[in-house]
């Protein structure tokens, strides 16, 4: 860097002997104080410059692997002209008035791939304002609005700067919730009911209490908590519990029966979300009819750090420590439970060992569980709740769905009609709302179908099987993209047209989508002949403002086995603030989606979740990871998110590649066996 503002500025301040203005809380000592006695300079809520020249960026979004700390720091450092080597990142506390997600107004939280997008101007303005205050120190007040850099003057934005959390995370020094130890803290594990809806009826805790290190056993609404000196004592205490459950209100769901029920629902008309032209009329005329049902299982997020939280209740309120996606919402839930004001709930943000939407639970499930245990103990000491892998896997908040599609193709190979029927649980619960405004996470990516088809109908059934559901990396797009991008491929084959060419002809109104499609096709060698027993598939989808196209190459093995050998990704996310982080998120999203496509499935037997650990809920392994090339479309548009949009196109591109290789359709996830040809 030619000018490192942190060094330059502090000296300027000292030279000027600047008086602290009432309008600017500079926190600087007046007069020529020695450098090491200068108080930190904190011009706004997002940056603090210390006496040691360290520039600390305050990150309002949780770092859960997506690289947001690096991204936020890049934006602010760019406009501050700070020396990147001096940048530190600190997590912001819960305070929706200063640290809200600007796309959600007043609500502090991380999700929907919105962090970079909502912070794009905010963090740059924070940096530019701080710079103006420093440079023009003697000429207050600071001009407003501050002038931001033109794109061609960017020094950091657009460069693959190293992640700010890399060093800590490669030395085992990054602090996750599971790692934090506070004075007087105890650890709890919870015995949850075997089925959703059951509650503890009779608890015999004699043996549990006899275990060395066990401090208390508490019967709560959620189950039975064992509180101990450490995790191992608590876990052994839990094993020793004898509990009878009241299962009178428990679910009795069976996955086979649910599948049949969803298929039956898909046969009848649901609540209409879109009706263009006359789909029914088009189906009545003698075109070539194509019908398909796509089925998707429940999926667990399975972050490698199982859910956990630390809570301490004292006279002034409640303090929490954990990796929090939904800070304002958690404050409200905890405040409601304890009968205090939300501002009395203090949240200390920590690194999250993955999340993928799980730590954004709108009902704050594991957070409230922790607070309830702390409340029941009533000792004012910090309490850490640790879920085991099995607790996490069986804790609900899964990704739901099923979709039926009908299409009609005329003799000229043109798509005349498209009818999509979605059967899916609503994340916020309940059936079709009275006002008819259906939660968009049920149909995003379907009701806004980009393909130009004159006769188009989309409707929805919303069953309520009693299973808690939640957003799962890319949310509604996980199921809509699989159905839409598989089915357009089916229609292309029915029309004897190349799948890329058919999409191209129907995407005349969507230049960005077409551009990523063409880029992925070119880089992924679309159209180049493949060896025998290999296939190539393509899919494109837009989610969270970002367009992604993927070309997948598969190689068939023995029987019905196959290997995904290569994935080519093209992404348009506006300006790529950090192209290496964008690449990493695409690589990771492909892996996350592939894991689900190959083996992800939560099933129920008589109301109980069958899977519990990685032996029966396998995750993608290193040997299964294909070669991945990521191509970023150059853009001058404001940045959109990259944490999720790489997920949706993978499963349909893979299904399409399998069809190309075998002539059979894979319509049921995970891809164990193909559907009929």
């Amino acid at each position: 860097m030619s000018s490192t503002i942190s060094k330059l500025s502090r000296r300027d301040f000292l030279k000027a002997g600047l008086a602290v203005s009432s309008g600017l809380t500079l926190g600087l000592r007046v007069g020529p104080a020695p450098a090491d006695e200068v108080m930190p300079f904190m011009p706004n809520a997002f940056v603090r410059i210390g006496a040691d020249d360290a520039v600390t960026i305050i990150a309002k979004h949780v770092e859960m692997g997506q690289g947001i700390h690096t991204g936020l720091a890049t934006l602010l450092a760019e406009e501050l002209d700070a020396d990147w080597a001096q940048i530190r990142v600190e997590a912001a506390p819960a305070d929706g008035s200063r640290y809200d997600n600007l796309n959600w107004g007043g609500n502090q939280g991380t999700g929907g791939s919105s962090s970079i997008n909502n912070s794009w101007l905010q963090m740059r303005e924070a940096g530019a304002t701080a710079r103006a205050m420093l440079v023009a120190a003697a000429r207050l007040p600071i001009p407003t609005p501050v002038k931001l850099k033109e794109a061609q003057d960017f020094v950091y934005i657009g460069r693959p700067l190293a992640r700010t959390d890399g060093v800590a995370k490669t030395h085992g020094q990054a602090l996750y919730t599971i790692d934090l130890r506070l004075p007087g803290m105890r650890t709890a594990v919870m015995l949850h009911p075997p089925r959703f809806g059951a509650i503890p009826a009779q608890v015999d805790d004699t043996a549990a209490r006899a275990i060395k290190g066990v401090h208390a056993v508490l019967q709560l609404a959620e189950g039975v908590a064992v509180v101990a000196e450490n995790f191992w004592a608590a876990a052994r205490g839990r094993e020793a519990l004898k509990v009878e459950w009241d299962e009178s209100r428990a679910i009795t769901l069976d996955s086979q029966a649910q599948r049949a029920q969803y298929r039956e629902l898909a046969d009848s008309a649901g609540h209409s979300l879109r009706a263009d032209g006359d789909a029914a009329g088009a189906f009545a005329t003698p075109h070539k009819l194509v019908e398909a049902v796509y089925e998707l299982p429940y999926l667990a997020h399975a972050a490698l750090e199982p859910m956990n939280c630390i809570a301490q209740i004292n006279k002034t309120g409640c303090e929490l420590w954990y990796g929090a996606q939904s800070m304002t919402s958690a404050q409200n839930h905890v405040a409601h439970l304890l009968g205090i004001a939300p501002a009395q709930v203090k949240i200390n943000q920590l690194f999250a060992g993955g999340s993928f939407g799980r730590r954004a639970d709108m009902r704050a499930d594991y957070v409230l569980e922790t607070v309830r245990i702390a409340q029941a103990l009533g000792d004012g000491q910090p309490l850490k709740l640790l879920w085991t892998r099995e607790d996490d896997m069986r804790g609900g908040r899964y990704r739901p769905a099923a979709t039926a599609l009908r299409g009609a193709v005329d003799a000229q190979g043109e798509v005349q009609a498209w009818q999509q029927r979605i059967v899916c649980q609503a994340l916020r619960g309940g059936g079709v709302p009275k006002d008819g405004k259906v939660d968009k996470t049920l149909h995003e990516g379907a009701s806004d179908l980009p393909y130009r088809i004159s006769n188009l109908a989309v409707d929805v059934h919303i069953p309520e099987p009693g299973v808690p559901v939640l957003w799962w990396r890319s949310v509604g797009h996980t199921h809509t993209a699989f159905a839409v991008e598989s089915f357009i491929d089916e229609l292309a084959h029915a029309a004897a047209r190349d799948p890329l060419e058919l999409r191209r002809s129907l995407l005349r109104d969507d230049p960005q989508r077409l551009a990523v499609l063409e880029l992925a096709a070119a880089k992924g060698d679309w159209g180049r002949p493949l060896a025998k027993r290999r296939g190539r598939g393509i899919a494109v989808h837009r989610s969270f403002g970002t367009w992604v196209a993927e070309v997948v190459e598969v190689k068939l093995g023995d029987a019905e086995s196959f290997t995904v050998e290569r994935v080519t990704v093209a992404v348009d996310c506006g300006i790529a603030v950090n192209p290496d982080v964008v690449r990493a998120q695409m690589e990771g999203s492909v892996g996350y989606a592939l894991s689900a496509a190959l083996s992800g499935e939560i099933t129920f037997k008589n109301g109980a979740v069958v899977q519990g650990n990685f032996d029966n809920y396998p995750l993608l392994r290193l040997s299964q990871k294909p070669a991945i090339d990521v191509h970023i479309v150059p853009s001058s548009a404001a940045p959109s998110g990259v944490g999720e949009p790489g997920v949706p196109p993978l499963a349909p591109a893979l299904a399409n590649a399998l069809f190309a290789a075998t002539g059979k359709r894979w319509r049921t996830l995970p891809f164990r066996t193909p559907s009929a040809a």
Binding site: T170, H171, G172, I178, F231, G591, F614, L622
Partner: protein
């Protein structure tokens, strides 16, 4: 219980003999770089080195390693380990980072035994270490790069 030798230091241990090493490291000694992920040797997040070989601390009772040399991420200071960590940083492998202590130690053990592993040998050595962020492409590249730098 007795003593354990961890990162070339001897520790007096209070926990019972059958306590898994993972929880002694984490809860008794505060060595929290070793992570809990599954508790059943299914994910590799708790990988430590026992006399240089990768072991799952979550299913290893401390009595079983009382006479052996235990290395955790905090003690990964050898030239080889530092080269591996440097390669990890150069490629910015970590995303959430939770599995990376285990990944790095598994890679160190692999390179100690086999200075030039093939892709197939990397698959075999690393397949038990799950990464939910799927940073696998970079893990593989980082291992090859560390091998080159150590040559």
């Amino acid at each position: 219980m007795g003593k354990l030798t961890i990162n070339q230091r001897e520790f007096d241990i209070r926990a019972d003999d059958d306590t898994p090493l993972l929880w002694v490291l984490r809860d008794e000694l505060g060595l929290t770089g070793t992570k809990y992920g599954c508790g059943k040797a299914l994910c590799g997040a708790c990988t430590v080195l026992i006399d240089g070989a990768p072991r799952r601390a979550c299913v290893t009772p401390i009595a079983a390693v009382a006479k052996q040399s235990i290395t955790t991420i905090e003690g990964a200071r050898s030239k080889l380990a530092q080269t591996v960590i440097k390669a990890w940083l150069d490629l910015d492998v970590a995303q959430c980072g939770y599995c990376q202590s285990g990944q790095i130690l598994a890679a160190v053990a692999l390179l100690e035994k086999n200075p030039h592993p093939s892709d197939a040998q990397i698959n075999e050595a690393m397949d038990g270490n799950l990464c939910r962020c799927a940073t696998y492409v970079r893990i593989r590249t980082a291992i090859h790069r560390a091998a080159e730098q150590l040559a």
